[in-house]
Amino acid sequence: MAPPRISVGLFVTCLVDLARPKVGLAAVRLLEAAGCDVVVPRAQTCCGQPAHNAGDRNGAAQLARQTIAAFEDVDYVVVPSGSCAAMLRRHYPEILAADASWSRRAKAFGGKVFELTAFLADVRDLADLPERPGPKGPRRIAYHDSCAGLRELGIRNAPRRLLEKIPDLGVAEIAEGEVCCGFGGAFCVKFPEISERLAADKCRAAEKAGATELAGGDLGCLLHLAGKLRAEGSNLRVRHVAEILAGLDDGPAIGEPVTGEPVTGEPDAGEKARG
C-alpha cells in the first residue's frame, strides 16, 4: 500500500534555480510520483553555504533563519543536493545554537530535511519511477558521490538503488570514489590549478570506469566536472541523477549546447562534446 500523501517543500538550491532548472522539474516529478504534494516556497534563495564557508557567521545565520521560516508548514524539506541538504540538516542547528528559540526551530527543521535520493529511497521507499519518455537501451553510468552527501549524510546506496530500477541501466563504480572532485565552492576559484588537477583525476577515473555518462547528486560538482570534461573534449555526458530518474534525460547534458549552433568561444571543444 502506498504511504499516505504528505506535503513536501522543495528547497531548489540556488545552483539548480540558476544553472540547471531542469533538475528542479525532475525533482518535482519524482516527488509527485512518490505521492507527495510539492510546494516551492518563494521565500527561499540560497542555503547560505557561501557565507558559512567563508567564515561569515552572521550572513549564514540570516539565511538559515530565512530558510527555516519559509519551510515551517511542510512535513518534509527535500533538497536535490547532498551538500545543501547537509547545510540545512546539520549546520543550521550549529549556526543558530546560540539563540535558544531559533536553536529549537533549527533542530526541528533539520529533522525533516532530506537529500532527494535518500528521501525517495529511504523515507518514501519509492517502488516505481515515473514513466520514461527518455532514451531506451543499455547504458552505463558512473556515479560520483559528492563529499558532503557521502560523509555528512551517509548517502551512497540510495541513488544507486534508484538508478538500478531503470531497465538496462548499469552503475559503474569510479575507482577511489570517495576522493573529492576538487570543486569546493569558492575553493575552485581561489585555487584553480589544484581544483583543475583534482577534476582531471576524477574525470580520468570516471572514464576508466567504462561509462558513457557521469551522474551525481550535487550540481556544484557536476558543473565543475562538466566544465573540465568539455574543455578536454571528452565524450562523457554529465547529468544530475534526478534528471535520469525522472526520465528527463533526452535533452542536452550539463554543459552541452542548448541548440545545434556553434559554441561561443571554443568551437572545437563543443564539436567534440557533441560528437
Partner: protein, 472 residues
C-alpha cells in the same frame, strides 16, 4: 624554519608541475590509505578506542598543570631534570647550554617535529655543534637542506632515484660506480655513514610521542631502531616535547599508541617502542648519565579552553595528510611550514599567526576526509572554518571577500528582489549560455573560464508558470 605559507599558491603551482613529486605522492598516498584501512578493519574495537582516547585527551588538557607537575616530580625523583620553555628561543638556549655544559661537539638526533618547530639544527650548527640525524628520512632531507614534507615521513616527497643522486653527490667516500638502485642499498649506505656518528656523539636529542605523568616516562616510537641509539649511547639525553603530549598513566598511553601506529602506517605497533624513564640507574647497564626533558609551550596554552583546543588532541599520526586531496597533489612543502596538510593548515596559523599563513585555512575543499580518518576525531573542517571567520575579519585580506559577500547577501536575504534579479540576469545571459557555458571569474584558470551554465528561465520562474497554468 622560516615559514613561507603565504606563498602557498605559488608553491602549489610549482608542486603540480613537479613530475618527481607527483610520482612520489601518488604511490605513497595510496600505500598509506590502504594500510590504514586494513589495520582499522582488523581491530573491531577501533572506534571504542577512539572514544576512549578523546576522553583521555580531554581529561589531560583539563588538568594539564596537574599532570605536567606530576610528570616533573617523577622525572626528578628518578634523577632527571625538567626544563620549562615558553617558546622556541628559550628551548634553543636551554639545549645549547646543556650541550655546552658537557662540551658537546656532536649531537645525534632522533626524528622530532618539535626539533623542527624550534629549528634546533641550524641553531646548533651556528654555535659550532654538529647535529647528526639518525632517522633515514631526516638524514636525507638534512643532506638536501630541505624541511620535512610529512610529519611521519619527512622525505616522502622524494623518489628513490633522487635519494640515490643525493647520496652520490654527498657521500664522496664511496666509489662512483656503486649500485644504489634498491632501497636496501640506500639504507646500508646511510647506516654505514651514520653508525660511527652515534658512537662519537656527546648528546642525544629526541622528541616524544607521549609523556606519562604517573611514571615520568617519555614514549618514543620508531621503525628504524635509531631512537634507542640516540638515547643509549651518548652520555646526555635531551627530550624536547610539547606540553600537550602528556597523558596520566601508562595504560592511557597504551590506548593512544594502539590508535597511533594503525592510523599512521597501518602497523599494529611500531617496530620499536621505547619508554625512557630517567637516566641510567645504578643497576642498569646502559642509558644516559644525564636525562633532560624540555617541556615546550610555544603558543599551546593559549589554545586551551578556546575554540581551537581540539587541535591539541592531535597525536601526529599523519592520517589526515595521507587522505587529503590537496596535500595529495601539492605535497607538504607547498604549505611552507613544519606542520602540513589539514592539521598543519589548522596549527600553523595558530602557532605562527594567521597573517603569516593566511592561505592555509582556505586551501581546503572541506571534503571532510581528514576528520573522517582522524583517530582523535578532531573536527578539522570546523576548525578551518573558525580560522576563516578570523580571516574574514582581518584587513586587508578579508575586505574584498566581505564586500562580495555583502552584495550577494543583500539580494539573497530579499527573496522577491533576488528572484527578479536572477530572472533578469539569466535573460541577459541566455544568448551567451546557449553554447552550454558561461565565462566566469577572470582568475579561474583552465576549465573555470567555461563554467557550464545554460541561461534562460530560472526554476522559480518555471514553477510560477506551472502554478499559474494550474489555477482555474
Amino acid at each position: 624554519m622560516k615559514i613561507t605559507s603565504n606563498a602557498f599558491r605559488a608553491n602549489s603551482r610549482g608542486a603540480l608541475q613537479d613530475r618527481n613529486l607527483q610520482d612520489a605522492l601518488g604511490n605513497l598516498k595510496r600505500g598509506f590509505q590502504e594500510k590504514r584501512r586494513k589495520a582499522k578493519a582488523r581491530l573491531p574495537e577501533f572506534e571504542e578506542l577512539q572514544d576512549h582516547a578523546v576522553a583521555i585527551k580531554e581529561h589531560s588538557l583539563d588538568h594539564l598543570d596537574f599532570y605536567l607537575e606530576r610528570f616533573e616530580k617523577e622525572v626528578t625523583a628518578r634523577g632527571g631534570k625538567v626544563h620549562w620553555c615558553r617558546d622556541g628561543a628559550e628551548a634553543r638556549a636551554t639545549i645549547l647550554k646543556l650541550c655546552k655544559d658537557v662540551n658537546a661537539k656532536r649531537v645525534v638526533k632522533a626524528k622530532s617535529m618539535i626539533a623542527e618547530e624550534i629549528a634546533i639544527n641550524d641553531y646548533l650548527e651556528a654555535n659550532g655543534i654538529e647535529p647528526c640525524e639518525t632517522d633515514l628520512g631526516e638524514y636525507i632531507i638534512q643532506l638536501r637542506h630541505e624541511p620535512p614534507s610529512h610529519i611521519i615521513g619527512p622525505a616522502i616527497h622524494l623518489k628513490r632515484e633522487q635519494v640515490a643522486d643525493t647520496f652520490r653527490e654527498q657521500h664522496s667516500e664511496f666509489p662512483d660506480a656503486r649500485k644504489l638502485d634498491a632501497a636496501r642499498d640506500l639504507v646500508d649506505e646511510a647506516r654505514h655513514i651514520m653508525r660511527p656518528r652515534f658512537l662519537s656523539a656527546d648528546v642525544g636529542i629526541s622528541g616524544a610521542n607521549l609523556l606519562v605523568a604517573e611514571t615520568g616516562s617519555v614514549v618514543l616510537l620508531s621503525n628504524e631502531g635509531n631512537i634507542d641509539l640516540s638515547r643509549a649511547l651518548p652520555k646526555t639525553h635531551i627530550v624536547v616535547a610539547s606540553i600537550e603530549k602528556i597523558v596520566p598513566t601508562l595504560s592511557d598511553a597504551n590506548v593512544i599508541l594502539r590508535l597511533l601506529s594503525r592510523s599512521a602506517t597501518g602497523q599494529e605497533a611500531a617496530a620499536y617502542m621505547s619508554f625512557l624513564t630517567g637516566p641510567r640507574g645504578a643497576d642498569e647497564t646502559d642509558g644516559p648519565e644525564a636525562f633532560h626533558v624540555l617541556l615546550l609551550d610555544n603558543g599551546r596554552s593559549d589554545l586551551l579552553k578556546g575554540e581551537f583546543e581540539r587541535i591539541l588532541h592531535c597525536i601526529r599520526c599523519g592520517a589526515c595528510l595521507n587522505h587529503c586531496p590537496v596535500y595529495g597533489v601539492t605535497g607538504g612543502h607547498a604549505y611552507g611550514a613544519v606542520y602540513t596538510g589539514p592539521m598543519g593548515a589548522v596549527l600553523t596559523p595558530l602557532l605562527e599567526g594567521l597573517e603569516h599563513a593566511a592561505p592555509l585555512p582556505e586551501a581546503s575543499t572541506f571534503c571532510g576526509r581528514c576528520e573522517e580518518v582522524c583517530p582523535m576525531r578532531i573536527p578539522l573542517v570546523g576548525l578551518l572554518r573558525n580560522l576563516r571567520v578570523r580571516l574574514l575579519k582581518k584587513k586587508p585580506d578579508g575586505l574584498a571577500t566581505r564586500r562580495r559577500l555583502g552584495v550577494w547577501l543583500f539580494f539573497a536575504t530579499r527573496p522577491s528582489l533576488y528572484h527578479g534579479v536572477a530572472r533578469l540576469l539569466l535573460r541577459l545571459a541566455a544568448p551567451f549560455g546557449r553554447g552550454g557555458a558561461l565565462s566566469v571569474g577572470p582568475r579561474a584558470g583552465g576549465w573555470g573560464r567555461r563554467f557550464p551554465v545554460q541561461g534562460g528561465p530560472t526554476f522559480q520562474e518555471m514553477w510560477r508558470q506551472r502554478e499559474k497554468a494550474k489555477r482555474p
